[in-house]
Symmetry: none
Subunit: 413 residues, 2 copies
């Protein structure tokens, strides 16, 4: 028995005047989603807890069956894994921007004029030789990913993710010097190593020929790195061992790949899967159908619904939902024909009127053999709330799906 | 105020083609159950947790209001209590089979040809004199119950239930020598005592005249005991003290009697209550009505629904449900007439297509004075999911019932 879990990012929404008091899901003509609802059992999920706005990382940890309150290890490692960096237990990873700072470390531009990838890559190479001297046995490795973005990994014994961001998250203020966030040797060692790296990077970058050229051209120099979001690998049992399954993930966005990889999914790369509204969704769907031939459990992530929600564009969200519904048709048909299981939900609500994550529950449908069909014929926030699944927590979803797959051992006799 | 809790074992099911896409509860013409739904409030219960297949023991602990994740003490003590053995705190009890093993301890028949009770009882007597020498202050007591079944109790200071089964749970492989399941003196002492008992029992049994006769007749000798499922009494406050109630239990199956006894119910024995489809259900119902004259809370367990589910017989399950509904009529009438409370549910789902416990929720109805009638007119998995109770956990049921009985003290002022 097999199952596919489809997560449309930021899928949940609120009724909006722009759609005559409907939510985008209610307003959409999404035949395949309606068909799924007809064939399945519906409900709503508090992905973290009622009213709690989830981050994308904690939301996916919960949907994969892990308690984010216990295992969330910060965002950095997920981002690093998502761009293909291999991490070891104990590594502390940071997201980094190339940025422009003045001589007093006041942030002038958090993205260094959105420096192009070619220049940023060359700058990154110049950081290869940085050695950490102030803390014993610690190595700093910087990886460029795209444009102004990169990841820093501190590797060595006795490090901690409990250090503050260097990034001040806005321009016009001084970058922060890293502070330990708890009173441990590990946090202090990490803060010292991070500060040394950031200072040495600044020294190398500010005089780098590429930055001299940028200044000559009137462009902001990428003269500093601003690490943020320290994170480690989560200390968990991989999803494959926990349930005894082969599991594959298909996603465009790096973060989602990273969380999936961190919990033990195999990543399936699809050309043109970008994690944007221009993604190759047809290719992802095709890859998911193929993956169901080799894996017990396939996770398919679709980002576009969230992007248009952050853009506060409900009409566009309706279109995106209709597009997703059309593109999912062959996958839904395959799953229902083969008698597999399918679950479709969101990772959080992103109301178009708010433009950011909120803590409202998200709709859920599960279809497959023996599912208690509940007569709900439409997949939206309000219809699903009347469904047979009722209201569950994100962390419960995985066990419910694995129960259908016969993978949950009896507790007791 | 009084209440009766009726648990039909393995009551929950899934829609099945054999019943044109209905569940057995949906397909059944069960007037009394429908009447209960009409008069009551309905819902669904995750007995342990969403998606978690419950054992019968953990399920009943939860339905009696105890968190099985915290207090589950293994199955052995429940089985021992269920056949009338008195246990003390600290005792470690095992379920045992008389079995046939060869000279290398390979299991030839786990039930020794389903040896009859008379012969097994005589063999059991021969085991009375076994003394444990290798562990100080430990006594082994073996009790025969029925046919090939019995219970072993290890009694003494410093024992633990964390020892592995001797029973390999299948024929054709060697019986296991008991191992400590945790690194404690208690677990090691228990494993050593258990091994000594099993070896001494084998020595006595293999030369016993009854077994010599069996071999002569071409029957498998009952030459070994295979203990399994080590368990102790749960460390809990009895249900009677916890809520300040007099509580009685009526059940046929030994395990259910055992769990009820372990948590403090008085057991009411009903002649012909066998825990099978041939049970004296009329007698049990009569006993429940009578018990409501003397007790605040009466638990009535009906096993037949589970038995036919394990047999994968949905049509038979429909018949059994209709039979139960008819037999319950006088009890439901009495309760509603007297203005008492009644709750009816299952301890887990056993889909006829699966033939084993699964983690799907079970339906629940509660009727009685002041219950918020929700307009649900049929008692089945799908109708109940739309009821006013919504989706609750097994551990919550008891407090909900005790609330109607006015037995839950205010928290705060």
């Amino acid at each position: 028995m097999r199952a596919v879990l489809i997560v449309c990012d930021g899928l949940g929404d609120r009724p909006t005047r722009a759609l005559n008091g409907l939510t985008p899901l209610q307003a959409a003509r999404a035949e395949t989603l309606s068909r799924l609802a007809e064939h399945g059992e519906c409900g709503i999920i508090d992905v973290i807890a009622p009213g709690q706005p989830p981050g994308s990382d904690t939301a996916h940890l919960a949907l994969f069956g892990y308690d984010p309150f216990r295992v969330y290890p910060g965002r950095g490692a997920f981002e690093a894994l998502g761009v293909g960096i291999e991490l070891s237990a104990g590594d502390v990873a940071f997201r980094c921007n190339f940025a422009t700072v003045n001589d007093d470390w006041v942030i002038v531009d958090r993205r260094a004029g959105r420096i192009n990838s070619e220049e940023a890559r060359a700058l990154a190479e110049a950081l290869n030789d940085i050695r950490i001297d102030k803390v014993d046995g610690v190595q700093a490795i910087f990886y460029h990913s795209s444009e102004h973005r990169g990841a820093l990994v501190l590797r060595g014994e006795g490090l901690s993710r409990m250090v503050s961001d260097v990034d001040a998250h806005k321009a016009g203020v001084k970058a922060h010097m890293p502070r330990p966030l708890e009173d441990t040797i590990e946090a202090r060692r990490t803060a010292v190593a991070l500060q040394e790296f950031v200072e040495k990077a600044h020294k190398i970058l500010k005089d780098h020929p590429i930055n001299r050229q940028r200044v000559e051209k009137g462009l902001p120099p990428a003269n500093a790195l601003l690490p943020r979001g320290a994170g480690t690998l989560p200390r968990i049992e991989p999803i494959t061992k926990l349930w005894g399954i082969r599991a594959a993930a298909i996603a465009g966005g790096g973060l989602y790949k990273g969380v999936a990889k961190a919990v033990g999914f195999d990543l399936i790369n699809v050309p043109g899967a970008t994690g944007t509204v221009n993604t190759n969704l047809g290719g992802k769907v095709e890859a998911a159908i193929k993956a169901l031939g080799e894996y017990d459990f396939v996770f398919l992530h679709i980002k576009a619904t969230d992007s248009v929600s952050h853009d506060k564009n409900p009409h566009r969200k309706v279109e995106v939902i209709e597009w997703i519904s059309r593109e999912l048709t062959p996958l839904v048909k395959t799953v229902l024909d083969k008698g597999y299981y399918i679950a479709l939900t969101g990772d959080h609500t992103t109301p178009c009127e708010v433009g950011d994550h909120t803590g409202d529950p998200v709709p859920l449908v599960i279809a497959g053999p023996g599912v208690r069909r509940d007569g709900i014929g439409k997949f939206d926030e309000i219809s699903c709330a009347k469904g047979g699944i009722g209201r569950i927590r994100g962390i419960d979803l995985m066990r419910i799906l694995m129960n259908y797959l016969g993978k949950v051992p009896l507790f007791g006799e």
